[in-house]
């Protein structure tokens, strides 16, 4: 059912190259989900999220000190290995320090036509963040217009917002299906859909998503659901891990990470000033821990997800050395445990030790299932 999404995800580079050939448009590689893709899309640019390949590598050793997260190094490795030769621009929106290094090394060693560090505010809880970000967007929009030679009209922006919002709504629909006692789609499959979403034209993704939703409405899964899990934490696109857990007597019914629900959870609420509407979406979205202060607003959101998706247990994963998540997980673990949700903490690297993790996951699932046993 998800073959097309899987194909897009596995052959991401071919997809982007074909898209370029077909449309003659430019491709923008980006590093963080705080990048306002709508502005790029309105200019006819295809935003493509740079992700790693989960292969051991040593090409980044001279560029990024090894105490920074494996994800940022894996991303840079893709550039240094010339796998993104087709991109015309590269950008980041201010987020964590780790991934920022992939960007700064990239612009020096793999130069492209257009580069942008977009100053996304950190204090999204400040009322002044909106005005600041709108101004940053105005400058960015102008820069994109100069780069592409295309004037971005309100109509273009409006269309981009509509396409993106539809995509977000459809994804929320897909996630809602997982609330069922017998979800018709696994966490691993959903991960393929979300990842494909970050590297394809959203209009095309929408079409395929609609087809998938129609199929899923009729589909009855015959697999054992087992324990209903949430996976949350750092960037996570490790489908191998998801598959292992889901073949051990569990199903991931929901997630909270930036390659998952946090990427699409909130829509742009249409307003008169379209840049202001986009800015509000990125400021008010479910925050990355780098921006979740002074109040930790993500915790009630996570607890709500657990409640609504009827979660039995939580796997808290984090990329090794991921400080922002390390700074939150003690509070998150406590909040989950206080509401009776058991947690398992796992530290991820570029490759994960599946055998060792399987033992820990099985022990965790056994613990969750203990009440049923006795």
């Amino acid at each position: 059912m998800i073959e097309q999404f899987k194909q897009w995800e596995k052959n991401r580079h071919d997809y982007a190259k074909q898209w370029k050939g077909k449309t003659g448009g430019k491709v923008m590689g980006y590093f963080c989900t705080y990048v306002p893709e709508e502005i790029l899309y309105a200019a006819g640019v295809l935003p493509v999220r740079i992700l790693g390949s989960h292969e051991p590598q040593d090409v980044t050793e001279p560029h990024i000190f090894a105490m920074f997260c494996p994800f940022c190094r894996d991303c840079l490795a893709q550039g240094l290995k010339n796998r993104y030769k087709y991109i015309d621009g590269i950008m980041i929106a201010q987020s964590c320090l780790h991934i920022r290094q992939a960007y700064t090394s990239w612009i020096k060693h793999i130069p492209v036509e257009f580069e942008k560090f977009l100053c996304m505010p950190h204090k999204v809880q400040s009322p002044h963040a909106y005005e600041f970000l709108i101004e940053e967007y105005r400058v960015f929009k102008k820069e994109v217009e100069e780069w592409t030679g295309k004037k971005i009209t309100d109509k273009d922006l409006d269309n981009a917002i509509k396409v993106y919002n539809e995509n977000r709504r459809l994804m929320r629909k897909l996630y809602d299906l997982r609330k069922s006692d017998n979800p018709s789609i696994t966490g691993e499959e959903v991960m393929e859909v979300v990842m494909a979403m970050q590297m394809t034209d959203k209009a095309e993704h929408n079409k395929e998503l609609k087809k998938l939703l129609t199929k899923l409405e009729k589909h009855k899964s015959d697999r054992e659901v087992g324990s209903r899990l949430i996976i949350l934490g750092s960037e996570d696109d490790d489908t191998v891990f998801m598959k292992m857990v889901e073949s051990s007597g569990a199903t991931f019914v929901i997630d909270d990470h930036c390659t998952g629900s946090r990427y699409f959870w909130n829509e742009v609420e249409q307003g008169k000033d379209l840049l202001a509407a986009i800015a509000a979406r990125y400021i008010d979205r479910i925050p990355c821990p780098t921006k979740d202060w002074e109040e930790r607003k993500r915790i009630p959101h996570i607890l709500n997800l657990c409640k609504e998706w009827n979660v039995d247990g939580a796997i808290i994963m984090q990329q090794k050395f991921c400080d922002p998540h390390e700074l939150d997980f003690v509070a998150i673990k406590k909040a989950l445990n206080d509401t009776g949700i058991p947690t398992l903490f796992l530290e991820f690297d570029v490759t994960v030790p599946i055998g060792q993790f399987k033992i820990r996951v099985e022990a965790f699932l056994e613990m969750i299932g203990e009440e049923d046993l006795f």
């Binding site: 950190h122 922002p324 700074l327 509070a331």
Partner: protein
């Protein structure tokens, strides 16, 4: 291998005064409530002129220097680290932060009284409990900054907290909108301070504090600039004990006065008289990021080779403010001699000035930092660079590998050594000394 002295040397006359200012800072914080005053906590980079407007009896503790102070006390540091780990905080997090949290968890302050004298714990003082701040006043440019105090607030059952986002982009791209975003937050912050303390805010005190800030940061840079001289009047180990005052209370009058009236004239005098920090100076290097605080002896080890570490972008630019002068060289930032007529105007000038801080620029691009480091290497006439790959501070270590490549490209030999500013378990002294031996050989001194 003791080399023959080439230059005269002498101890700094203002050394004792610097030490007293530092000790009084911690004592004032600890005793603030006894005198009816207030205590606040925040980072070394926070806009500390703002709480100054609450009165002359409002005393801060700044997180990073306090974390370093604990690091220097190896026994207490280990206790703090382990206490933080027991609570579930990973050991690869900022090591200053873990020391600081540990001090709260164990309820042990790094200072106390011995025979009624306020001294560090390692000098035999009976440690006090950690003096809980009345409010938190923080800034945020590093991922750990605001989060640090979120945890402090968790550990202390909630302390009112306000954090200012100052990550608005590099100095060369400053705009009115960027400055105003920070200014508006500061104005909100003042309202927050009035609310949580119940005090009226005094703009005149704010104006004085901002002026102190200008003096501290500019005069410190001017002092560091003097280290371009051969022989260098200051070595980095001494610089650490002097720059720290700016990290404690850069908007404090005692710090501004010390830099302007004590330290700067003394260093000018040392240059006039040819007084060297290292009498056998033969080669000059700089370091980068915080040193491993419990192993400052490595800087004395360099002296055996006639090597002086003249400072670093870290010690020059963490607090010091710089600008490019007409002749193209780097010098102290000109103090804006403006009269403040309103809170808004004063805050605008304060923010506009402060956003040029050299140590904030690499948060946007490591290449900006490389350019500044190469400038220092050239203008301070260096033979090589020692980069501390510091596992204890992601904020200052970001981009360090690219800095290394850029320095090498610019023709400067670079030695790297891995360590941790405040977690001594992650520093290998013997291995580092062996690397120094090899590096000195490549610089032609052995």
């Amino acid at each position: 291998m003791e080399l023959e002295a080439k230059y005269p040397t002498e101890k700094l006359k203002c050394w004792g005064k610097a030490k007293n200012i530092r000790m009084k800072f911690y004592q004032d914080y600890a005793e603030a409530h006894d005198k009816g005053g207030l205590r606040w906590a925040g980072g070394a980079w926070t806009f500390d002129a703002i709480p100054a407007g609450l009165g002359d009896d409002v005393y801060p503790i700044t997180s990073e220097p306090y974390g370093a102070t604990i690091a220097f006390d190896k026994e207490l540091s280990l206790e703090c680290m382990e206490a933080a780990e027991v609570k579930g905080y990973p050991r690869d997090l900022c090591s200053y932060m873990r020391n600081y949290w540990g001090s709260i968890i164990t309820d042990k302050f790094a200072f106390g009284y011995k025979d009624k004298e306020f001294v560090p714990r390692f000098q035999g003082a009976k440690p006090l409990g950690f003096p809980k701040p009345d409010f938190i006043w923080q800034d945020h440019i590093c991922c750990s900054h605001a989060k640090w105090y979120q945890v402090v607030s968790d550990l202390e059952d909630g302390i009112p907290m306000f954090t200012v986002d100052n990550a608005v982009g590099p100095a060369h791209k400053l705009t009115d909108s960027k400055i105003k975003y920070v200014v508006e937050q500061l104005k909100d912050g003042i309202k927050f301070l009035e609310k949580v303390t119940g005090r009226d805010y005094d703009d005149e005190l704010l104006f004085k504090a901002i002026k102190n800030h200008f003096i501290s940061t500019s005069k410190w840079a001017e002092t560091c600039e003097l280290n371009k001289a051969i022989p260098a009047p200051l070595d980095e180990k001494s610089i650490y004990s002097l720059y720290v005052l700016g990290t404690l209370q850069k908007a404090g009058k005692q710090v501004a006065d010390f830099y302007e009236k004590d330290l700067l004239p003394e260093i000018q005098d040392r240059i006039k008289r040819g007084i060297a920090a290292v009498p056998n100076e033969r080669v000059r290097v700089m370091s980068d990021t915080q040193p491993p605080w419990s192993f400052l002896s490595i800087f004395r080890y360099l002296e055996k080779f006639g090597c002086v570490s003249i400072g670093s972008l870290y010690t020059f630019g963490l607090i010091g403010q710089w600008e490019v002068k007409n002749d193209g060289t780097w010098g102290a930032k000109t103090i804006p001699y403006v009269e403040f007529s309103s809170r808004d105007q004063a805050l605008y000038e304060y923010v506009k000035y402060e956003l040029h801080k050299p140590e904030w620029q690499h948060f946007y691009s490591c290449h900006l930092k490389s350019d500044m480091m190469i400038r220092i290497a050239r203008e301070w006439k260096l033979n090589g660079v020692m980069l501390h790959y510091n596992r204890g501070c992601e904020g200052l270590t970001i981009g360090i590998a690219e800095n290394r490549l850029a320095l090498l490209d610019a023709g400067f030999p670079v030695m790297t050594f891995e360590g941790n500013n405040a977690d001594e378990r992650e520093f290998d002294e013997a291995r580092t000394k062996t690397k120094i031996n090899a590096f000195m050989e490549t610089l032609g001194v052995k």
